[in-house]
Amino acid sequence: MVGAMNNERERQIFAQRFGLFIGLATIVMLFVAMTSALIVRQGAGNWVNINLPYQFWISTAIILLSSVTMFISKKAHKQMEVQRFRIFFWATFILGVAFIINQWLGYFALAKSGFYINGINSYQYVYVISMTHLAHVGVGLLILLYTGIKTSVQKFNPNYHHIIGFISVYWHFVDLLWIFLFIFFQLKFF
């Protein structure tokens, strides 16, 4: 009976994980569309190269660090180290907030340099694509906040591990996505 129960539960978790990856595929397609638009525009000529202000470099470091904290948090949950899990989970949340703040500082820096959202084409793409990414980070933060509160006020539940796993996958995904975009913005295709 217990074996069957575990199998069914694993099957359910597998299905949910599968669904999560399909969801990520849809996000990939969204960014494929937007980055393709940038490449097409670049190919049309009269393209001003993008130089991102240092705030975006700091953002990159922050989101990379948040992936590390997420990884440690997930591992701690699996090893049932409650305190460690909570500390690193909340650290991930705080780093996520820091990422968003820093991205906005980056936008302010761009505007201060005269690269407004409706200004030079190449920087328009930086705004629209990075803001779309930021919206995805925002969704991740809401999930982190909800789960963080839930796991803090409730008794530690080891069976919650797969949910932490799902959140971790999503968080690493938005992290990788930003790394890709950060490099992408600075490439010249034509």
Partner: protein, 626 residues
């Protein structure tokens, strides 16, 4: 409360308690709960209140019906719009000041509808029919109703997300409907929403607030489609009952799976295009705009963009969207033809492979909508080649459908008639697609009524026929009753003859160069000779619309007063949805979900009329291998 049913052989819900006839559950946090904590199978509806049972239901069948009924309402609205603008085209001298009484005097000028009103009608007709009816209403309905039932699952992988999928569609509907009540009206820049008309607020009346609401509505709609598609794929690939290998799946499920894959890969691209458009409209960016001057408004402060970029992004969705619309019909028609011919489907593997081939090619042909945009002729020839390749799998499907019914013991139910009608329309509309796939011909015929005729026959009326076939066939499963046959036959013949009467003459108009999207052709001497033909088309359109009202009456009448279905398997079909109770509760099967032993098309085998999928292979019996 998120729950996971834990009894062997049962699928589960990840949110919300639902049916089961067994004892233990385990929620996602691993807490084992007893049956008393949760709802029961048959008593599910009794215990929950009306709101949870019928409004915010997580039962896939209820959600399917919600999609269907919302789709029907939208179809009436979209169809009525087409009748109104056909009145203008067919009878340009008729006084139409009544429009002012219904929609407001601002839309009437000298007894005729204004050009802006015409633009609004054609935009909303296209948007409503393509997205709200033939995507949500068709795919949303039958994916929800059939996937768990034909795969052998209690519900979707995530019933909660499934419910959200409908409610996002509902919100999209509300936003779109509300846009009619703006002083400037709903969007009026055509359903393809091309910039610069769509990107500059001052470009036209239909480019103002209505266009904003169109974009908001479509964003909600895309989110709804993605949630639905994600669920459909996950359920089909992960929650099939025991024995239901991919090779034993009914073609309906294959079609719905491929439709969902097309949707999750292409709708995000449209969302990306919409985000750039929203930025252009609201923040003054120039993704799709370059220097442009608008009469009476002045020069616009945009530079460096290109409206053609939007077309690339739009048609990357737009062409797969054609198959998102038609693919569910492929599947249902295959099923219905086989059941009502009492013969196995001909070439099951070829049917699946051809659907996969069509889906794959769908992503590489988008530029055939753009032959007149100044596309490099070499690139154009590549897209011609890829487009014409689609004829091969399409022809395979047609051949297999015809071979399936060939010498069959055909039961002429309304569903079967609509399925046969679909094949006819797919051939007629598909052939003209070969014309338009050739850039040399398309450049001549682009934006003429030939194009209107082509896509209305193949993906408009064709998909509607698939939808009607599905509704007539699975109505007993949805409501435990039959739809009235006589009304069904009248509906079929009026629609079938009427559809050809509307669209066949349009080919001639198009070949003669009559352009689409013109509010009136009356002022053009070269098109005057088509005046009587236009009258004929309009009369046919009014008759066909009236026939659809008959269908709507039959649908709702049959829900309440229809002949009660007493048989569990009224069509003597092999697929496992007919092994559930006549009106299944949430969870579908009262006991164990049946195990599948064979493919779904054992009709007329070894002297037996039909052998259900649940029947084990007998000793010495040759099983069908795909």
């Amino acid at each position: 409360m998120e729950t996971t049913e834990t009894h062997h052989g049962h699928a589960h819900s990840n949110t919300g308690a639902y049916i089961t006839d067994h004892v233990h559950y385990q929620d996602v946090e691993g807490v084992i709960r007893s049956e008393e904590d949760h709802g029961h199978h048959d008593s599910d509806r009794n215990k929950k209140n009306f709101i949870h049972t019928w409004i915010f239901s997580q039962d896939h069948k209820i959600i399917g019906k919600q999609f269907l009924i919302t789709g029907i309402i939208w179809a009436i609205v979209g169809g009525a719009f087409s009748n109104i603008f056909r009145m203008q085209l067919g009878f340009p001298d008729t006084n139409m000041s009544w429009i002012g009484n219904v929609f407001g005097d601002r839309w009437v000028e000298n007894g005729h509808m204004t050009n802006d009103f015409y633009n609004m009608l054609i935009t909303m007709h296209g948007t409503i029919l393509v997205f709200f009816v033939l995507t949500a209403g068709l795919s949303g309905t039958f994916a929800n109703i059939l996937i768990p039932l034909q795969c052998g699952a209690r519900d979707m992988a995530s019933p909660f997300l499934n419910m959200l999928s409908y409610w996002f569609f509902f919100m999209a509907s509300i936003v779109m409907a509300a846009s009619f009540f703006l002083p400037t009206g709903a969007a009026g820049v055509s359903w393809v929403f091309y910039p610069p008309l769509s990107a500059i607020r001052d470009a036209s009346l239909g480019s103002k607030g209505g266009a904003d609401m169109w974009l908001i509505s479509m964003s909600l709609f895309i989110f709804s489609s993605l949630l639905g598609g994600l669920n459909y794929i996950t359920t089909i690939l992960n929650l099939r009952t025991k024995g239901m290998s991919m090779a034993k799946l009914p073609l309906t499920i294959w079609a719905l799976l491929i439709t969902a894959i097309l949707g999750v890969l292409s709708f995000p691209v449209l969302l990306g295009a919409a985000i750039l458009l929203i930025f252009d409209r609201t923040l003054g960016t120039s993704f799709y705009l370059d220097k442009i001057y608008i009469e009476n408004v002045g020069a616009q402060p945009h530079e460096g963009g290109n409206p053609i970029l939007y077309q690339h992004l739009f048609w990357f969705l737009g062409h797969p969207e054609v198959y998102i619309v038609i693919m569910p019909a492929f599947g249902m028609v295959s099923e219905i033809l086989s059941v009502n011919s009492r013969k196995p489907i001909f070439g099951y593997r070829a049917m699946v492979l051809s659907m996969l081939a069509i889906a794959a090619l769908a992503f590489f042909v988008w530029a055939h909508h753009m032959f007149v945009t100044g596309l490099n002729p070499f690139v154009g020839s590549v897209f011609v080649f890829l487009t014409l390749l689609i004829a091969i799998p399409s022809a395979i499907k047609v051949f297999n459908w015809l071979t399936t019914i060939w010498k069959g013991n055909i039961k002429y139910t309304p569903a079967m008639l609509f399925a046969i009608g679909f094949v006819s329309l797919f051939i007629s509309g598909g052939l003209t697609g070969i014309f338009l796939g050739n850039s040399s011909i398309d450049i001549q015929l682009h934006d003429t009524y030939f194009v209107v005729a082509h896509f209305h026959i193949v993906m408009g009326i064709g998909a509607f026929f698939g939808m009607f076939a599905g509704v007539y066939h699975w109505f007993p499963k949805m409501y435990g009753k039959f739809m009235n046959r006589t009304m069904g036959f009248i509906h079929f013949w009026l629609t079938f003859a009427g559809a050809y009467a509307i669209f066949w003459p349009m080919h001639y108009q198009g070949l003669a160069g009559v352009p689409r999207r013109y509010p009136s052709h009356a002022g053009y001497e070269s098109f005057n000779k088509f005046g009587e033909l236009s009258e004929f088309i309009t009369i046919a359109a009014l008759v066909v619309f009236a026939a659809q009202l008959l269908f709507v009456f039959n649908f709702f009448y049959s829900i309440f007063r229809g002949k009660i279905c007493h048989e569990q398997n009224p069509w003597k079909s092999n697929t496992i949805e007919w092994t559930t109770p006549i009106k299944p509760g949430h969870g579908n099967w009262e006991g164990e979900i049946p195990t599948v032993h064979r493919w779904p098309y054992d009709y007329g085998k070894d002297g037996q009329d039909f052998i259900p999928q649940t029947m084990p292979i007998q000793p010495g019996e040759s099983a069908h291998h795909v």
